[in-house]
């Protein structure tokens, strides 16, 4: 079931959470909503589920306008960041909740719940209470609960946000495989670009209530639409009006017309990867990512002079000066133009 959102607006008091947002999610895809906190990604997800009512705009699931439908009729599976486990119910009762609401027969419920517990590898824990599970197990239970009712679409709100790094990586891989198996249209929200690129086929980058860009991971990384996307999906240096990724800076010992002089400030070895920090003549700080071999070949030492040549520099005309944090800069090109249009729907 494809999902589309058209011209969605939502504000909380003075805070504009969604500002004329439109997205298309193709049937059967695995899409990530990516953005810093406060970018509106969770609000958008909750609006698709009906947990948030839009001020204006439409949500379509499989071509049908569901904007007026209450949550319980939208047939969506929703997984919450903090699991939202029913604490007074066992794992079995949690997973079977939606089926019981739908008045399934007891044996059917039992069969379906066990099928799902097998799928999420929680068989044997059916009689435990959520408090007796680890974070990862709770999240898998929440996923099984959402999947039990065979939802048209699966929505996950920072599903791995509360888990530690190791469990998180395992669950990522596992979610990708699960999606391949079930093939249900899935949207998940994350602020972690690596997670988004690892799991999702399609990414939607949001900032300040707007969609900045959507596309595949390669599209976003190689052809960012603006400075925000460029800095959010990877590391970036600024050289004048140009932006360049640290691995796209070539370091040489001889000057020519295309290079800029720089002094080596610090060399940090991070295993195979070496991070070399430079300062330019005008005081700009830049860093380059080298391999161990490259560093040995260049024989760089701290305090020495070297020459930098940006390889794939990009410039976004008229864009605002970059912000080192990347998150709080308003995207220049689109700013101001959208506010008037947004009330139209």
């Amino acid at each position: 079931m494809g999902i589309s959102v058209e011209g969605a607006n939502k504000s909380f008091g003075d805070f504009q959470a969604l500002d004329d947002v439109s997205i298309e999610v193709p049937d059967g895809s695995l899409t990530a909503l990516l953005g810093p906190s406060g970018s509106g990604k969770s609000t958008l997800l909750r609006a698709i589920a009906g947990l948030e009512t839009l001020d204006s705009g439409r949500v379509l699931i499989d071509g049908e306008d569901v904007s007026k439908k209450p949550t319980q009729k939208r047939e969506v599976g929703f997984v919450f960041q903090h699991y939202a486990a029913f604490k007074h119910m066992t794992v079995f009762e949690n997973v079977g909740f939606g089926l019981k609401i739908r008045k399934w027969k007891k044996e059917q419920v039992r069969a379906r719940v066990h099928e799902l517990l097998n799928l999420v590898q929680l068989h044997g824990l059916a009689d435990r209470y959520p408090s007796q599970l680890s974070g990862g197990q709770r999240q898998r239970m929440a996923l099984a609960r959402a999947l039990a009712v065979e939802p048209q679409v699966l929505l996950l709100d920072e599903p791995f946000g509360a888990l530690d790094a190791k469990v998180r990586k395992d669950l990522r891989t596992w979610l990708r495989r699960l999606h391949e198996e079930m093939n249900v249209t899935t949207i998940f929200v994350t602020h972690d670009q690596e997670e988004a690129m690892d799991v999702a086929g399609q990414l939607v980058v949001m900032n300040k209530g707007r969609v900045e860009q959507s596309g595949s991971a390669d599209d976003l990384y190689d052809k960012p639409a603006n400075e925000f996307v460029m800095s959010f999906v990877g590391e970036v240096n600024r050289l004048g009006d140009n932006f360049v990724r640290p691995h796209d800076i070539e370091v040489v010992r001889d000057r020519d017309d295309s290079t800029e002089e720089a002094m080596v400030q610090r060399i940090v070895a991070l295993g195979f990867e070496i991070r070399v920090e430079f300062v330019l003549g005008d005081g700009t700080e830049v860093w380059a990512q080298l391999t161990r071999g490259e560093l040995q070949r260049l024989e760089l030492e701290e305090g020495e002079i070297a020459y930098l040549r940006p390889v794939h520099a990009k410039s976004f005309n008229g864009s605002a000066p970059p912000d080192p944090q990347g998150a709080s800069t308003p995207p220049g090109p689109t700013d101001g133009g959208d506010a008037e249009v947004s009330a139209a729907a």
């Binding site: 607006n9 504000s11 008091g13 003075d14 805070f15 970018s39």
Partner: protein, 297 residues
């Protein structure tokens, strides 16, 4: 953006609303109506009665020697009682949180006895222990000391239960840091522990004080209504019995006003108590709604 947000005043309402909007309105109407009928209407009748014969009459009723002495007596006794319980309540709370002794869970449970035991029964058992039949030979019944003892009995849990959670939450690190900086036991208590307990202690003391001001049952048999031991609530009871309703109502209003001041202080103390936690969150510029959304993200 500003103008856009203004078009949607309803957007400030946070989802999800558990009852449908009509249900919420209906429920709210019922709650307000119920509280009005049960609580507010009788109090309005009381106020009306107290003023039914004019302000001068009201004033004369609350300034009779009897009324003045009853009000002064309960005020003084309540102050003494909360001072005693502030000290002993804190000690007991401290023992329950930081100490380990046999029977601790029993003590922890028995603290609530005055909440559970009917006040008239409290009065009865106190007079048996400290009255003319006292097995230890101490007879304080029908004296002012009896008022203090009875009030100590009924208000003890307020202080203990207000201090206990604060002690439990208190970071031991702070005390250890202070000790590592050379502070002795008493200094640690005075400089570190006590200031942190103060909001809870103050709230507990205020609650205890409000309760003591109006206490009736536990004082009735034990301290009685003799010339020297008639507190405000007992005097009100006597006035009702003798048919002086407007007098009873007038003294009631004064007693009520004292309790309301106390209640107001409790609210202030609670605000003051949460000051620290608030100061941390206020940095964002006070945009509460935005902060809520931030959390959700």
């Amino acid at each position: 953006m500003e103008a856009h947000a203004a078009q949607h005043p309803a957007a400030t309402r946070s989802r999800p609303l558990r009852l449908p909007r009509v249900g919420a309105g209906l429920g709210r109407g019922l709650v307000v109506l119920w509280l009005s009928v049960i609580v507010l209407l009788p109090l309005a009748a009381l106020l009306d009665e107290s003023l039914s014969q004019g302000l001068a009459h009201f004033w004369s009723q609350v300034t009779t020697p009897q009324a003045k002495s009853a009000l002064a007596l309960i005020l003084v006794c309540s102050l003494i009682v909360v001072a005693i319980n502030a000290v002993f309540g804190t000690i007991v709370a401290w023992l329950l949180v930081r100490d380990d002794f046999p029977g601790k869970s029993f003590v922890n449970a028995i603290i609530d006895l005055p909440f559970a035991l009917p006040t008239i029964v409290a009065s009865l058992i106190l007079i048996e222990l400290w009255g003319k039949n006292s097995p230890v030979g101490i007879d304080i019944a029908l004296s002012r000391t009896a008022i203090v003892v009875a009030l100590c009995f009924v208000t003890l849990p307020f202080v203990v239960r207000a201090v206990q959670p604060l002690l439990m939450e208190m970071d031991r690190d702070m005390e250890e840091a202070a000790a590592s900086l050379g502070a002795g036991g008493l200094t640690v208590f005075r400089r570190i522990i006590f200031p942190n307990l103060l909001p809870g202690l103050a709230a507990g003391v205020a609650l205890a004080f409000a309760r003591a001001l109006g206490e009736y049952g536990s004082v009735l048999l034990f301290a009685g209504g003799t010339k020297n031991t008639t507190v405000a609530s007992i005097l009100i009871g006597q006035q009702i019995e003798s048919g002086n309703e407007s007098g009873a109502a007038a003294i009631s209003i004064v007693l009520l006003a004292m309790a309301l001041v106390c209640l107001f202080l409790i609210t202030l103390i609670q605000r003051w108590g949460t000051r620290h936690e608030r100061a941390q969150g206020a940095g964002a510029g006070g945009l509460v709604v935005a902060a809520e959304d931030e959390e959700r993200e």
